[in-house]
Amino acid sequence: MKAKYDVTKHALVPKHAKASEKEKKDLLESYNITLHQLPRILKSDPAIDHLDAEEGDVIRITRASPTAGETVFYRRVING
């Protein structure tokens, strides 16, 4: 099913981007975690539709934050 509306254009959808392999490795190392311990995002999520993400990829989300101004969040892609 093709999305009718490109949600990434919406003001309330934060910026999603695919993290590079290096960024992913650094992330896991800096928090001393396995991929499994990251929050999840569905592969079918409209916000990452344009990224061609595969299961196991890490998505970097840059959001506006009321407390910190801008904040970075990471999610791993899962099937579904």
Binding site: Y31, N32, I33, H36, Q37, L38, P39, S65, T67, A68, T71, V72, F73, Y74, I78
Partner: protein, 924 residues
């Protein structure tokens, strides 16, 4: 059973065998299998599953008891793992100490029948009898399981979904899972992944999806047998196409499932063989968990479980007889169904498709599931909700004369709730006096506890003996006295400040008293609220409460980083009036300060008259510097402990703002802050006491210019609306984009009326008499606001119902006194009058519509938001901030990469912010 043996062993032998005290049968679940390989905990919540674990665990303590009594010999064990599983029929029989064959309970003498449900081999509930299994008396014997041999197998209601998925996903001929051999490995790895993500439930769900996706047709890939669709006819009947599968057939199919295939379903065949999910033997719980009670009439009243088991045994025996007599199949089927019904309701009497089994009185029986489930069940009622001694609960009332961290305890309570004090050589004389006074005179004592734990009540008769006996090591339970540590609490406990430690102040009366400044954290008022008081009974708990829970430690809210405890009501009005207007003679000022608890008045300037700011300054520390704002936006300056400029109001002292208090807390710590808070609070109150404080109707008078201007503003708005309505009727009104003309009109009318009301409010603010006591309350933030003031003296304004003007009522109109289709303001809830002048009948009615609506709204919202809060609290209860700044759950999964996205500990901030400039300024 090894248990009976164990209790007869000598102590030495017992010590040797104790570490291996678990019975040595191979089937014992405690030792076999690995964690997580069994079933989900929920499915095994049925009593049968937990039984062997309980038995094995109960073994050591019961056998141990005798040896511990004589010489303490502790046997330490560590739980390495717990396995959940299902009992096999073989093990069920093995662990049972009696076979139940008759529904009769007692013989003519009232003695439990052998082979009955109250068989004394199942444990004892009568004081005189001894258990036939373990030889112990009442309360010593923990009870023993029995069993019922089922005449025909029945389905266990809690396993219905698992059985269904097993039947659907396996071949009815060869029992193998319906996944072709070559695809098995891949499917297994997929399932493994799913289990990590979503647990066993998700795994079983996925099996069916995988099989469907394989499109193997309806043939078994192993033996080519044709498979037909299996469905569930709720609650317990399985159908293959149109044909009914009897539990016997179901069991036969489950038996065929190979061990390796069972593993695919997340079932470890070592602990759960699929066929064990069908009941061929029913465990009978020990009598000790279903004791009968003797009524006053001498009649025996049996437990609900016993009733239900009686039904099962009776029907089971009849089924046996009919089968043996070769009765027609229809009769047997009927009895079988009835047996199924009884067994199902024995486990769960709240199955959607079944009528619940009832008492003769019509009230439903409380069977196994009902004992565990819901708020009144074992978990939430008995395990999560514990009841305690040494606590009290009554109505609360305010007492501004006790300290913030004190609680006023009525004498009647102080004489019931006690504190244990250990007798020492140096306090012997002191404690003897308590015993001497006894329970009837305050401060006395109620009990004396001997070192061996024997508790003796002090009475007039036993007093002498107790005094004689008293020696170091004894404990005296003396009455509650001033300064004792207590824990004070009010439900709902929405945050940690709902439970705080207070020191006792014994007072006359019958209510618990608290300083009104702590109303805010408890969310208490005095319209009949009740609160709870607990008295810690050990030194450790007292120390913990005092250090961690005392009121002063809870000053700053961890939610918004400002004081939760602050001045309120009169003390705010008082502080405001004092710092704004007061000019007092030095003598009066000193009198005031002394009454506020200030003993050192040396800071007061040596002048004939002093002003309020100088009086207030006396309470500030000498090196205190502060710059802030009052509610009006004016500057407040405190320099070297002197209030140089500004008025002290709610923004400086109030709950949820209190910037002055926050600054004091940061610089001087909680103890100083709470002391100053108490003094400021009392000073405000005392100042009002001294000057008098009251409101007059003339406080709400407006000068005639203001009245005219307000009238003019309203008339203007009304005229404009009139033109709008005319335009609307003539069809000349232009609609807003995306709105109809009617909506546009409504919108414009509402806007105009609101504008008029705001104008009126502004005029009231400007023209209403300044510095009246009413205005002092409003301006200090103690009570009331300008809007309410203008509603009283100028205009009440539009009554809105769900964001709209009032539309409800008759067809086309709100009340029968209006014309149909009248859209003028007055016909739709615009209240033109003010409360001082009084409302017209229509206006009064409109006000009541909105009043009732908001009442309903609060009444309905409270339980909803309470439930929402409960869910949130339960979902987040074990999240924590780790040392690396991440927020993680109990399994180490990351919830937030940086706590609050800015890593600020709110309780160390001011309103969530950290003033970096000040940190730079104040560090050299």
């Amino acid at each position: 059973m090894p248990k009976a043996k164990a209790s007869e062993e000598t102590k030495k032998e017992l010590k040797e065998m104790a570490p291996e005290a678990a019975p040595e049968e191979e089937e014992v679940l405690l030792k076999s299998g690995d964690v997580g390989a069994g079933m989900t905990p929920e499915e095994s919540a049925a009593p049968s599953a937990g039984a062997p674990a309980a038995e094995a665990a109960g073994e050591a303590p019961s056998a141990k008891r005798e040896s511990v009594m004589a010489t303490p010999q502790y046997i330490f064990k560590q739980v390495s793992n717990i396995v959940f599983g299902v009992l096999s029929p073989k093990l069920l029989k093995k662990m049972a100490s009696a076979k139940v064959v008759t529904p009769e309970l007692y013989d003519k003498e009232g003695y439990p029948v052998d082979g009955g449900l109250m068989d004394i081999r199942l444990g004892v509930i009568d004081p005189g009898l001894r258990c036939k299994t373990c030889g112990c008396k009442l309360k010593e014997c923990i009870g023993h399981f029995g069993y019922i041999e089922m005449a025909r197998p029945v389905v266990h209601i809690k396993f219905v979904p698992v059985i269904l998925s097993l039947l659907r996903s396996t071949c009815h001929e060869c029992g193998k899972i319906l996944i072709p051999k070559e695809k098995l490995e891949k499917s297994k790895s997929i399932l493994e992944k799913i289990e990590i993500e979503g647990g066993l439930r998700a795994r079983r769900k996925a099996i069916k999806t995988i099989i469907d996706s394989l499109k193997a047709g309806n043939k078994c890939s192993h033996c080519n047998a044709k498979q037909s669709k299996i469905s569930l006819e709720k609650p317990t009947t399985y159908m293959e196409g149109e044909r009914r599968l009897s539990p016997i057939e179901v069991r036969a199919r489950l038996e065929k499932i190979p061990d390796e295939d069972a593993m695919i379903f997340g079932i470890n065949p070592a602990t759960v063989r699929p066929e064990w999910l069908i009941l061929t033997v029913l465990p009978v719980p020990p009598v000790t968990m279903r004791p009968s009670i003797t009524l006053e009439t001498g009649e025996r009243s049996e437990d609900d479980l016993t009733h239900k088991l009686g039904d099962i045994v009776r029907i089971n025996q009849r089924l046996f007889e009919n089968i043996n007599a070769g009765a027609p199949e229809i009769i047997i089927e009927d009895l079988w169904d009835l047996l199924q019904y009884h067994v199902t309701t024995f486990f769960d009497n709240d199955v959607a498709q079944l009528p619940p089994a009832r008492h003769r009185s019509g009230q439903p029986l409380k069977t196994l599931t009902e004992r565990i489930k819901s708020k009144e069940g074992r978990i939430r009622h008995n395990l999560a909700g514990k009841r305690t001694n040494f606590c009290a609960r009554t109505v609360i009332s305010p007492d501004p004369f006790i300290k913030v961290n004190e609680v006023g305890v009525p004498k009647v309570i102080a004489m019931k709730v006690t504190v244990p004090e250990v007798v020492q050589p140096w306090n012997m004389a002191y404690l003897k006096k308590f015993v001497e006074r006894g329970p009837g005179t305050y401060p006395g004592a109620n009990y004396v506890v001997r070192p061996d734990g024997k508790k003796k009540k002090i009475t007039e008769e036993t007093k002498e003996a107790a005094l004689e006996e008293l020696q170091p090591g004894y404990v005296v339970e003396r009455h509650l006295m001033d300064g004792d540590i207590t824990i004070f609490n009010r439900q709902p406990c929405l945050h940690r400040m709902s439970t705080m430690c207070h020191k006792v102040k014994v007072l006359p009366g019958r209510t618990l008293r608290l300083n009104p400044t702590v109303c805010a954290p408890y969310n208490a008022d005095f319209d009949g609220d009740e609160m709870n008081l607990h008295v810690p009974q050990t030194e450790e708990s007292r120390a913990e409460a005092e250090i961690l829970m005392q009121v002063q430690t809870q000053l700053i809210s961890p939610r918004y980083g400002l004081p939760v405890i602050g001045c309120l009501q009169d003390s705010l009005s008082g502080s405001y009036a004092l710092t704004k207007f007061a000019e007092l003679s030095r003598e009066d000022a000193i009198q005031l300060l002394i009454r506020a608890g200030v003993t050192d008045v040396g800071k007061l300037p040596n002048k004939k008259t002093v002003n309020g700011r100088e009086i207030f300054s006396v309470m500030m520390p000498d090196d205190f510097n502060f710059e802030g704002e009052s509610r009006s936006g004016a500057k407040i300056v405190i320099k070297d402990g002197k209030l140089v400029e500004g008025v002290i109001d709610e923004k400086s002292l109030g709950e949820g703002s209190g910037f002055l208090l926050r600054a004091l807390h940061r610089q001087y710590g909680s103890q100083t802050t709470i002391d100053i808070l108490y003094k400021v609070f009392t000073l405000g109150n005392e100042y009002l006491q001294m000057t008098g404080f009251s409101i007059v109707i003339s406080d709400f008078d407006l000068p005639s210019i203001a009245q005219e201007q307000i009238e003019q503003a309203i008339v203007e708005a009304e005229n404009e609306i009139q033109t709008l309505i005319q335009q609307f009727h003539e069809g000349k009104l232009e609609a807003f984009p995306g709105r109809s003309v009617g909506e546009t009109l409504e919108f414009k009318i509402l806007e105009l009326l609101n504008k008029a009301r705001n104008k009126a409010g502004q005029l009231v603010k400007e023209h209403a008499k300044k510095d009246t006591d009413t205005r002092i309350m409003v301006d200090s933030g103690a009570r009331g606001n300008i809007l309410q003031l203008s509603q009283i003296s100028a205009i009440v304004g539009q009554q809105a119902l769900r964001g709209k003007r009032i539309e409800k009522g008759y067809r086309g109109r709100t009340l029968s006194c209006f014309k149909k289709g009248d859209i003028s303001p007055l016909a739709h809830g615009f209240v033109r009058s003010n409360l001082k002048k009084g409302l017209s009948p229509q206006e009064f009615f409109f006000c009541n519509i909105t009043g009732r609506d908001s009442l309903m709204d609060t009444a309905l919202r409270t339980p909803k938001s309470g439930y929402l809060y409960r869910r949130l609290a339960n979902a987040m209860q074990d999240l924590r901030v780790e040392y690396d700044g991440t927020v993680r759950d109990a399994t180490g999964k990351i919830i937030q990469f940086k706590y609050g996205e800015d890593s600020v500990d709110v309780s160390r901030s001011e309103n969530g912010k950290i003033n970096i400039q000040r940190i730079i300024d104040t560090t050299e």
